[in-house]
């Protein structure tokens, strides 16, 4: 189920230079959303125009009547960073890059933002508690079925949707469980948590935008400038680490260069996984085919819609330009 709603701004804070965290009251979306899904956000003037039923009519303000600003016209796709099903809120975290996000950054607490969502197909790591038929309800004790160890790999702001995934996968899982592969040759033998997060960024300051250390996960960090964690790429760190602490699955998001390198690493390791992709969007609901990306094999691929067929696709099916 997807919803279109004027969501009230519960809080809106700067989290780092140029990055903001926006908490919206949207109970229906909060209930429905899964990690990896996104919202299509009207950044300006959208509140009244966004109503499918239209605004009150009178001469001079007819039908949709007042559309607010027609610039920017299109909604902006932004991943769900977290959801609080109990409170009925969804959080997005974004970088101010252009006109849309610039206007969004001006929204104050109590104002409304028109959002459409949740949209897209999210992450589906095998062995996810959700797939065992276990209800994902607040306060419900989770059972970790499958005992698989999932690696979550993110670069830059690609980690935004991964936080939600990491939280859903790790909360309720007993700390220090032995993953199914413990004891297999090469494993360090140290009890490890079920979720390993590999977070890469340019600098330590950029790492701080999303703090995975508050979650019960094993966290590995890398920075390009070496200001924290491994100095170098997160894919290098991932490769070095999983060689002696195997994982069963990789869920990843980040800049295309990083994902491409990671795709190579997965192939080397014979590992499966899934990547979240980005493309410019029109409708966000699968109708306009503006958001196409190449899915298949290098020899035989077809355009698929990031908004409706993705944004998460099987890693080995992404065809890089």
């Amino acid at each position: 189920m997807t919803y279109i709603t004027d969501a009230k701004v519960v809080s809106h804070r700067r989290v780092a230079a140029g990055c903001r965290r926006l908490v919206l009251a949207a109970p229906d979306i909060a209930q429905a959303v899964k990690p990896g899904q996104f919202l299509h956000v009207r950044c300006d003037g959208g509140t009244r125009a966004g109503h499918p039923r239209g605004a009150p009519t009178s001469v001079g303000r007819i039908g949709l009547g007042w559309v607010g600003s027609a610039d920017p016209l299109l909604r902006r796709p932004l991943s769900v960073h977290d959801a609080d099903r109990e409170r009925g809120t969804v959080t997005i975290l974004y970088r101010v890059v252009g006109r849309g996000t610039g206007l969004l950054a001006e929204k104050r607490t109590g104002e409304r933002v028109n959002v459409l969502g949740p949209l897209g197909r999210g992450f589906e790591p095998p062995g996810h508690p959700r797939q065992s038929g276990h209800p994902c309800q607040p306060g419900h004790p989770r059972q970790w079925v499958g005992h698989r160890r999932v690696a979550i790999v993110g670069g830059g702001l690609g980690v935004v949707p991964l936080f939600f995934l990491a939280r859903e996968l790790s909360v309720g899982v007993p700390p220090g469980i032995q993953p199914a592969n413990a004891g297999t040759p090469g494993h360090s033998g140290v009890p490890r948590r079920a979720v390993a997060v590999f977070q890469g960024a340019r600098t330590a300051a950029e790492l701080d935008v999303v703090d995975f250390s508050i979650l019960p996960v094993d966290l590995f960090t890398a920075t390009d400038d070496g200001s924290r964690g491994h100095a170098g790429s997160v894919v290098e760190l991932f490769l070095d680490t999983v060689c002696h602490e195997p994982v069963d699955w990789v869920s990843a998001a980040g800049p295309p260069g990083m994902l491409r390198a990671l795709a190579g690493a997965l192939e080397t390791l014979g590992l499966s996984g899934e990547f979240s992709l980005e493309e410019r969007m029109g409708c966000g609901i699968g109708a306009c085919v503006c958001c196409s990306c190449r899915i298949g094999t290098p020899e035989r691929w077809e355009y698929r819609r990031v908004c409706a067929d993705g944004p998460v696709f099987p890693a080995r099916e992404v065809v890089w330009e």
Partner: protein, 307 residues
Amino acid sequence: MKTKTAVDIAGLKLKNPVLTASGTVGFGEEYAPYLDLSGLGALVVKTITLKPRAGNPPPRITETPAGVINAVGLQNPGVEALVADILPRLARFGVPVIVSIAGETAGEYARLAGRLDGVPGIAALEVNISCPNVKAGGIAFGTEPAMTAEVVRRVRENTALPVIAKLSPNVTDIRTIALAAAGAGADALSLINTLSAMVIDVERRRPLLGNVFGGLSGPAVRPVAVRAVWQVYRAVALPLIGMGGIMTARDALEFILAGARAVAVGTANLVNPGAAAAVAAGLEQYLAEQGIGDINELVGAAHRTGG
């Protein structure tokens, strides 16, 4: 007071004058959660070609003040998929379906028209001779009167369905193209398709869209589209379907007053999936408020009151 919103386009009876513009709602299904399709005058589906088309490389859409520029390149599953899978699924929505067609040669248009003739669930054909993203020999069919006439005539010969020619604004004088289409047997005209446009990515110092050029639509083009409807209304006696930047019922009224008997909502659907229904509801309310018994009284009314 009871108002009449039904309109007749070349024998095609529509419960209200609001359509969806081709390419902006796909084949309609994705919009069903947000938009009561049965409340539309008609659903114009995405342009279909004989063979499936992959379309242009991404990025396919970008923005400009008050407009969007798309370069989808007519990605579609081909006419056989339309007939076998899509049309049967559309039947349940209870909305007249207008199928938009395009080809690379006049012969392809003719074959498409023939293939769709007699297929249940089609109310009319819209002949897309105006897509700026696909071209035969470098130009769109609809930018040249002789080619326009050739395509429309071949479609006309191959179908009993009402034929609506969709015109391009990328021409010196849209009236000459409209006259050519009318002379070749078109029953109605849709105007306008998108304006050829481009955006340059200043950071990367190169064209932004994968296809370099795209088609501009949205509020930015509305005055151009209203002008085109006004001009063609004076030149040609065919029913007109006006479109270009309609976001509100007020915008739709501009087109109707300029001479459009029906209107299509395009880009607004991307912004607000309920837009077309809101435009239809707004028109109805306007008629009631103004004490106008029949929307047809407004068609071309701006010509009669000066200008």
